[in-house]
Structure formats: C-alpha cells, structure tokens
Symmetry: C2
C-alpha cells in the first residue's frame, strides 16, 4: 500500500544512495530517465540535488514545467532502469515503449512510476548557472510516498521483502542491490 | 594493496552512493567527519558534489585549505563512521580520540583514512553562494585510489571480500551494507 511520508523524513527515502527514475511532464509530453546522481541536500523543508544531463528529453520537460518526480525502482526493475537510462527519447515515448505504468502525482504534473517503492514529488528551485555549468538542479520535495511493505513511518526496511530492495548503479548496467541493515553502536 | 584509479573512472568509486568519511587539514589541524551526501557530478575531469554543514570543524579546514579527501569505509567501520558523524570536534581531535590512522595523500594536504577501500583526493572549486545557501561544495578529483581486493581497474567487486563492502547511511546510525551485484540485460 502506498502511504504518505512525512516531509521531514522524506530524505530517508534517498539517504542510502539508491538508483532512481526521474520523470517529468509538460503539456501532452511526458518522459522518464534513470538517474543515479540524486541526493538529499537538506532536511526540512526537504531539498534534493539532481543531475540531469543537458541532452536529455526529460531535461526539457523539467525546465518547462519546473517539476519532476523521483521514483525508487526495485531490484526486479534493473532491466527497465538500464533501458530507460540508455534509450534516448526525443522521438520515442519511453513510458509507452517499455510498458511503464504510472500514477498521477498529488502536487506536480510529473507522473509517479508504478512498481517502485518510494516516490518524491518535487518543485524545481530555478538556478540558471547551476543547470548550465553542472547540469545540477536543486529541487524541493513537496510530497513523498512509500510502499508500506518497506516503510515503517521512520525508515526503510527490506528484510521481509527482498524483492523490493532498491538498486545502486555502478556503471554500464551493473548495479548493487541494497544489502542488509548494519546498526552502529553508540560511541562510548 | 592500494592501487591508483584512472581519473576518468574515479566516479565509479562513489556511483553506488556509499557513506563516506570526509577529511581535511590546514596548518597543524586536521579532522574527519562522516558524510553521506556526496555524489559524482561529472565524469572527466571527475567532479563531486559534497554537502558539509556550516557548523562543522571540518568545514573550516576545507575552506581554509581548499582541499578535502573522501574515503569509503567498510561495514566493519560502522561504529567509527557513526562516532565521527556524531561527535563535534572544535575541541577534540577526532582522529586521535577514535584512534584513526591515516596516510598522507599524494596531491592534497587532507589525510587518507586507513582501513577504507577507496580514496578520492579533491580540490575545491570555490563557489561562495553554493556553500552559503546550500552547504554544497563542488570539488574536482585530482587523484584516486582503491584497494585492489575490491577494485579490478574498472569496477568495484565485493564478492570475494564481504568484510570490505561499503555502507549506506539511512538515519541515526543505521546503515545498509552494499548488497550483491545485479546485472541488467541489454534492452531488446
């Protein structure tokens, strides 16, 4: 079940550095791309740093709409992540070509990608120099959701649902799955 | 054995989103802190985006020296990562207090943290507004190293050395270990 995530805890969906799918929509066009270079930048209000290359179709949609969604795909979605990360889509509708189902977001026009385990709806904070010089976008998370199988209201847990673990891209279609929990002892 | 990593492949040390230790030195002072909000920003020359909070002692050393090192700790170092991430150190020498051994870097004054599996020596590209508004530093990797047990010259591999897997911080001293490799099929 998809449940709302408190905004002040939304950074915990992304804190472990998972691979993501970044989606955007503007007018009648929409698109999705793979993005590993996404990380939290602040807690409350939650902000993210997102790298989106200049030659991508999704970038144009993000800049036109001022919005994007970040979805966290599972290990079973590795082929899809690699496919939408490799294919260009000025001409092809990647959502259609790769049979990607989506759900309407609550606060932005960008779609949420079905089958993922967490979703962050984001508004872009325009910064022309950052985008031009570094392909970097600073966005504010305005709504967040997670699959209640892996989100207990405070943290992600994958023990009971290994098939819902997230991915971490290494290079060229090779990923690491998210591994087991490690709890540090408090400093003595 | 610590081996040099080609700069154009240095992003692959950090691409999977591991927890890091960020170290810096200036004059007779040095320090280390935990940093999860570190990600690649460009391939060649390799650049990183690094978040360093304004109230940390390490930040002052980074700004004074214009340099920092990013080291990747292993699962066995979780207690240390949490300790140097929690303790403040305006007064305490964290390297000394937590018995952290270091090795001199090749191109920067910041020390490399022993026991880690990868190291990136970085020069800061000064951007006053980014640091002030977002605690964000853009750095260029000028040298990179990895433990040959886990680096084959192209990618990280942890199969043979589970004790050398990296960490991914979730929150409050809870981490995920880096999990098994997942290889995507090429899109059909």
């Amino acid at each position: 079940v998809r449940v709302a995530v408190e905004l002040r805890r939304a950074y915990r969906l992304l804190n472990h550095g998972p691979a993501t799918l970044v989606s955007a929509a503007h007018g009648s066009r929409h698109n999705v791309m793979a993005a590993q270079w996404v990380m939290p930048l602040d807690f409350d209000p939650p902000k993210l740093a997102v790298v989106v290359a200049a030659d991508t179709f999704t970038r144009g949609l993000i800049e036109a709409s001022g919005q994007l969604c970040v979805s966290l795909p599972t290990v079973g979605m590795a082929d899809l992540v690699w496919a939408v990360g490799s294919a260009s889509s000025a001409e092809v509708d990647k959502l259609e070509r790769f049979h990607v189902a989506t759900t309407q977001a609550s606060k932005v026009t960008a779609p949420l990608i079905d089958g993922c385990v967490a979703w962050l709806e984001c508004e872009v904070r325009p910064d022309v120099a950052l985008a031009r010089d570094h392909d970097l976008f600073i966005v504010e998370v305005v709504a967040a959701w997670a699959d209640s199988d892996v989100w207990d209201g405070r943290e992600l847990h994958f023990e009971g649902h290994p098939e819902k673990r997230t991915l971490h891209h290494v290079a060229r279609g090779t990923f690491f799955a998210t591994g087991e929990r490690v709890k540090a002892n408090e400093p003595g």
